[in-house]
Every structure is written in C-alpha cells, then in structure tokens.
C-alpha cells in the first residue's frame, strides 16, 4: 500500500503550497464570496455541504492512510462517535453552541481513535484493517445497544433542536454552508501545517519504511497512535457536521460500514497522501452518482425499466472507478499535478 505512493508530502499541500501568492486568497474568495452569491439553496445545502463534510472525512482518513500508511475501515464508526458525542454534550451542557461542542467531541473521538490505534503496535496491513473493522462493528453495536447514547428517544435517532450560534440562526442552507466551510478551511490549514512539520515528516517516514524510521530514531508506535488520534479527531468532527449541518439528524445507519468504504474510496480515487486529493475524491464520490442519476432521468426516464436503470447507473459508476484506478493509481490529484506541470511549460512537452 505504501509503496504505491510517489507523491512527496510537500507537493500535496495545495492550499498553502509553493504556488503564486495570490492563489490562496483567490481560492478563499471563490469559496466564501463567489460561490454563495451564485449558488442557490439546493446547491449549497445538498451538494456543497455534504461535499465539504465528506472531504473533511477523507482528509482525516488520508492523514492516517495516505500519510502515516495505516489502513483503517473504522472511519464510519469514528464519525458516529463524533456525532453522538456532540449530541450528548449539547444535551447535557445547556447553552453550549455547536462549534464549542465540536472541539470536545473531536477530542473524545481522538481518544477512541487512539485506543483503536493500539493494535497497530503489533500488526500491520490487512490484519490491522481487520482490527479496525472490529472497531467499526463494535461502535455501531454500542450506539444501538445503549439507549443512553440517543437519550432514550424513539427510533435510536439523534437530532439537535436548532442550529443557533450566538443568537444567529445557521439553519438555512447558506448558514450551514458558511459554518461547514469555516471549519473545513481551518482544519485543512491545521492539517497542512501539521504535515509540513516534524509530525508529518515522521508519519511519511513510517509509511515509506517503518524499520528505517525506527532506525533513525522515530518513536514509530507513538507516531502511529498519534496518527490514529488525529485522524479520528477529523473524522469525529466530520461525523458531527454530517449529522447536524447536513442531515439535521442521524442514526447509526448513517455511519455504517458502507460509509467507511465510501471514505476509503474517496482517498483512493482522489489521491492518497494528498490533501487536495481528499476534496477531489469527495467530489467524485458524492457528485458523480447525482450527475449520472440526473442525466439518466432526463434521457431515459419512462422508456427504460426504473430498476434496470438504477442498476446500470451503479455499473457505470463502478466502471468509472475501475478506469480511474487503472489509469492513475495515485488518484485524480496526481492527474491534476501532472496537468499543472504540463501547463507550466506549455507548449513544450513533458
């Protein structure tokens, strides 16, 4: 898994990269000003918010898998910890605004992630993946089994009364978009800096060859567990945002094993070891099925059996994933990087 990655860690930092100085402000201006002024409620609330949240989750897993080289299928369960943690904190601490609840909920998730990371001291690769799978199923069972987690409500579902922060209602699509965007940008910035510092470099060293890393004096087990904790922190916050900034309510069903696979696909398709890749992968995973659906509905609805059409869509989606992974195993982020390199020296050829 680790050998396939050829991207140096520094190249991946798109947001604060070595590019022209106007690039970052421009990107932020587009995200904060241009998009909200152009996009309608549907686009903001149903396409951009889930995209950002999935990107954050992908980013969290990317820290663990893409940078530190540890595979995990427990992402869904950790997102559930974040969501349920936020819910319980806001329930038991009256008057706590959502952003203030996210931080402790993220820390709780980090603690759970740290525990899930302990087996990585001894096992690697597929065996580690199986232990993370156990964590996933355990967490799913836990949140269903004990009604305390969903406050004894019917339907084992958690929901927050309203999204009001300091008296401002963030319940509208625009409000939720700004809330999620701010958190995602801040956390991406933190991740980018973390990766450029000694922590990120130690992770990369462990990913590329853990024996060598140990030889040069990196405390391998400590950094692996740190990677699990930091990754879980990101996933926890993503889970809380998925539940309360996108869906409005959630149950364990939203964070099942399918979600874990989805997040793994995001980083495989987007690009392992690339922050920008998480965003691209999330766009691919969340937008492509929607696009396919809209396209096939407008072209074939009424002429082809609906069940057949749905299955064909799944086939096309699967084929596209396969094509991408075969054509560019390092993900779309790598494609984009190659394209940038080509464009820089155009009309010469690389």
């Amino acid at each position: 898994m680790s050998a396939t990655n050829t991207l140096p860690a520094t190249q991946a930092v798109v947001l604060t990269g070595t590019g022209l100085p106007w690039r970052l402000p421009l990107l932020l201006a587009v995200l904060f000003v241009v998009i909200p002024s152009l996009a309608g409620e549907y686009w903001l609330g149903v396409i951009l918010v889930p995209w950002l949240v999935l990107s954050l989750a992908g980013l969290g897993l990317n820290l663990l898998t893409g940078y530190a080289g540890q595979i995990s299928l427990g992402s869904g369960g950790l997102m559930a910890v974040g969501a349920f943690g936020t819910f319980l904190l806001m329930l038991h601490v009256p008057g706590l605004p959502l952003p203030a609840a996210l931080l402790p909920a993220g820390l709780i998730t980090a603690a759970v992630g740290f525990i899930c990371g302990i087996p990585s001291d001894r096992i690697k690769g597929f065996y580690l993946m199986v232990s993370s799978l156990a964590a996933q199923f355990f967490l799913e069972w836990l949140f269903l089994r004990f009604p305390w987690f969903y406050n004894y409500g019917g339907g084992a579902t958690i929901s927050l009364p309203s999204l009001t922060i300091l008296g401002i209602d963030f319940g509208s699509a625009r409000g939720r978009y700004y809330l999620v965007l701010t958190i995602v940008v801040a956390l991406t910035w933190i991740a980018a800096n973390l990766l450029r510092g000694h922590v990120g470099r130690n992770w990369t060293a462990i990913r590329d060859m853990d024996t060598a890393a140990a030889v040069v004096g990196i405390p391998v087990n400590r950094y692996k567990r740190l990677a699990f904790a930091v990754s879980a922190f990101y996933l926890g916050i993503a889970g809380a945002l998925w539940a309360f900034a996108y869906l409005g309510s959630a149950s364990v069903q939203s964070f099942n094993i399918t979600r874990s696979f989805q997040i793994l696909f995001i980083i495989i398709i987007g690009g392992m070891g690339s922050l920008g890749g998480s965003f691209i992968g999330a766009a691919f995973i969340s937008l492509l099925p929607l696009g396919l659906d809209t396209l096939s509905q407008s072209l074939f609805a009424g002429h082809v059996d609906a069940g057949l059409l749905q299955n064909i869509e799944k086939v096309i989606f699967g084929v596209l994933i396969a094509v991408f992974v075969i054509k560019e195993p390092d993900g779309i982020a790598r494609l984009a990087a190659l394209f940038r390199a080509r464009a820089a020296i155009w009309p010469l050829r690389l």
């Binding site: 549907y42 889930p50 069903q253 937008l287 094509v323």
Partner: protein, 444 residues
C-alpha cells in the same frame, strides 16, 4: 493528453446535467408527486412490488379517471437504496416542486428517513407521509403538524398484536400470568414497540420478555433455544427482511408451533414465508395491508392496467401480493387526501400547507371505501389535527402454505391506554425543541 481528455469529458458529464435548467414544459394542472424508492440494495425485493402498486394506482387514476378531480399526477422516482441520507438529498431536490407544481406531500418510504426529515419538513411546511411507520409520537399533530404516521403507528401494532392474543385466549382476563416473548430485529424499528408492550404487560399482567436478534439475523439458534427454554404461550415476531424466514425455520427446528407466532406488519408478506417453506404453515401476521387480489380495486386495475400490459410489475403473478397492496393503499390514501384538499382549495395542484390541511381532514368511511374499491382492503380512516394516525386497526392473516388467508375482521388498537404514552413523548419533544403545541380549537 488522453488523461486530460478523460478528465474533461468526465467533468462535462458531471456538470451538464447538474447545471442544466429543468425542462420548461410546464403543464398547468399537474400535481407533482416525487417518490423516493429502492430498487437497488438489500430491500429491493420488497420495494419493487411496493412501487409497482403505487405506480399502478397512480396510473390508473390518471388514465381511467382522468386524474384526481381532473388534476393529473406527475410521478417521478428517485433511487435511495433505503438510505436516509439519500432520501434527505431527494427531499431537498424536490421540495420546491417541479414545472410550476408545488409539493403537497412527501412519502418517505422508511422510518429512518422520516426521522431524518422531521425537522426539515416542519420548517419547509411539507407533510411527511409514512403509513404504518414513522415516529410514533408524531401521531400528536399539535406538536408535529407536518408528520403523519398514517394508518397504523408502531404502538398500535403492539396493541393490536396483544388484542389478538387476548381474543385467541378468550378474553383479556386470560392474559394474566401468560408469557409473551417478543423476538425483535435489534434496530430502531424493532425497539419502537417496547414501551407500548411494557405498558400493556403492566395493565393485563402478562410476562413481557424481549429477545433481540442482531441485524441481519441470518442465524438465530441462541434466540430460539432461549424461547424453547422459556416455553412462552405466544411469540410476537417483530423481524424484518431475512430475519423473518430464518426465525420461522429456527422456531420449527426447536419445536415451537408456527400458529403461536404472531408476525408484525413488516414480517407478514409472501417474501417472509415462502423461503421458510413448510415451517411457515399456520403462521399468523398483522395485516393492515391484507394480501390477495380479490378486492374490488383489483378487478378495476386488472381491466385498466394489468390486461393492457401497462403494469409496473415485471411479473404479474405478484399482482395482489402484500407489498403490492401496500403500494396500492398508500397511493389511495394520498389520492383521497388530495380530493379532500381539492374540495376546499379548488381543483389545482396543492402546496404543502394545503396538503397538511387535506391530510388532517382525511376521512374515508365505509361508503367511500366501497366506492373506490378498497372495502376489506383498507380500514376506515379519520385523521384529525390531534390524531395523525387516523386508523389504528389491522386484520389478521394466516399463511396456509400457498397463500395468505384473512382470518379476522379489523381489530382496533387500545388507543385510550396508549394515548398518554404518546402524549408524554410528544410533550418531551416539544419541550426539547421549544415548540408550542398548536391548539386545534383555534385552527380552521
């Protein structure tokens, strides 16, 4: 370069349908009815028949009756794979209506999806319709104006199950000291009845034992060994999907008689008993949606839809299957509600607020049932602002090895006992969400 082309082509494929404005052929008098469906995924086998029933009935209304009071129904399907997350996405996509028609109601087709949408729909003023499912306490329409667990909520399902057992035993006084085991799918759906059964156990003095089956429930030896040791008088089977036939087969292996197992609404279709083979013979199930193609509406559909080859069913041998009839009944409830709305607001597409008014004044009496051909298939309905269920009865059907036979008339749930429980839950919800319950007397 090829890679670049591929990326560009893909981006284009993605962007074009998302950016393209909806086609501008606005039909003036069409009611938009979006349906979140699941034809893919683990529940597709039940879903496919369900949608066929709904689509066939809507088609019948459009073609044989020229629409609902002249307003045609424009139905559109969206795949969700029974995922609440995707149902939320569909809801957001359709909530503003289409081609000039607003949304009068939204079928959620799943309890988890109803839970996920309840606050959004209340804010958007769009009624959520989830017959024989939904959030039980939303029966209290004063707190949940836009949520309708129509027909038969989960507490009523528990109550009717117990009432049937009492009937079999020869009276409620005979329930005292009896052992009733509930084998349930360990999920939100499976647990939803627990509070109601606990209350009824207290009232009638029977022993209430709950045994969970973890999802998906394809191995249940330990549960049925437990049942075998307990030697209960009755087993209430509240499973879903594959766990139902497995339960029936395992029960037979442990020698528990099938005719002392009472199945729940969602454990009582052909798909639940046929795989169990002989083990299911004698099994009885709650039937707010009775099976069979012998009702008047089936004759009309046969003539207008099935025989013309226009049915959505791929194989017409499923015509009259339990899930198909679920579709028919749900569609009929929607159509009848639209009629109520048209009578007040005029024969035009209704919006969400008008849709709510319509559902809150939905009344279907015996004469009306006779007229629309649902006599025996659907119970009488009387929805009010304080009662968003409007029904609360079910018949019972028994599997004879080849088909379901109806064995009782409509049995009513014990609403008087359950109402305080529902009220307490809805009041807790109102408090947590800062909702001031509506005063029905002040409304129109």
């Amino acid at each position: 370069m090829r890679k670049l082309l591929l990326t560009t082509a893909l981006t284009a494929v993605l962007a074009v349908p998302l950016l393209a404005p909806p086609p501008a052929h606005a039909a003036p008098n069409e009611q938009y009815v979006p349906l979140p469906t699941y034809r893919v995924g683990p529940y597709a086998s039940s879903g496919t028949l369900w949608w066929a029933g709904e689509l066939d009935y809507f088609r019948y209304i459009n073609e044989a009756e020229g629409g609902v009071d002249g307003v045609k129904l424009k139905v559109e399907e969206f795949e969700t794979e029974w995922s609440p997350d995707r149902t939320v996405e569909v809801y957001e996509r359709v909530k503003n209506g289409k081609d000039g028609s607003p949304l009068a109601f939204f079928f959620t087709h799943g309890t988890p999806a109803t839970y996920a949408l309840i606050e959004k729909a209340a804010a958007d003023h769009i009624p959520l319709i989830d017959p024989a499912g939904g959030r039980t306490e939303s029966t209290d329409g004063t707190v949940f104006p836009y949520s309708f667990p129509l027909l038969f909520n989960y507490f009523s399902q528990a109550s009717v199950g117990i009432n049937f057992i009492a009937q079999k035993e020869g009276g409620f006084d005979k329930l005292k000291g009896k052992k009733i085991v509930t084998v349930y799918h360990d999920s939100a759906y499976g647990r939803e009845t627990q509070a109601a059964i606990a209350l009824l156990a207290q009232k009638y003095g029977f022993q209430n034992i709950q045994i969970p089956v973890a999802d998906p429930g394809s191995e249940q030896s330990s549960q049925w060994r437990q049942v075998h040791e307990l030697k209960p008088d009755w087993v209430f089977l509240r499973t879903w999907g594959v766990s139902t036939p497995v339960a029936l087969k395992t029960a037979a292996r442990f020698g528990f008689p099938a005719d002392h197992i009472i199945g729940d609404v969602w454990a009582g279709s052909e798909a639940d008993v046929i795989p169990a083979g002989a083990a299911a013979k004698g099994y009885q199930a709650l039937a707010p949606y009775p099976g069979g193609a012998t009702f008047a509406i089936h004759d009309r559909l046969r003539k207008a839809i099935i025989d013309k080859g226009e049915s959505n069913l791929q194989d017409t041998k499923f015509f009259g299957a339990v899930y198909y009839n679920i579709g028919l009944i749900n569609a009929a409830l929607a159509v009848e509600a639209l009629r109520v709305g048209h009578a007040k607001f005029g024969n035009r597409p209704l919006n969400g607020e008008e849709g709510r008014w319509a559902f809150e004044h939905l009344q279907i009496d015996n004469a009306r049932l006779e007229k629309i051909g649902f006599k025996g298939l659907l119970q009488t309905i009387d929805v009010t602002e304080t009662d968003h269920e409007g029904g609360g009865a079910a018949r019972f059907q028994q599997w004879d090895g080849t088909k379901w036979n109806l064995i009782t008339d409509w049995i009513q749930a014990d609403h008087a006992t359950l109402e305080p429980l529902i009220k307490a839950k809805s009041e807790a919800y109102a408090k947590a969400h800062g909702i001031t319950p509506r005063n029905p007397a002040m409304q129109d």
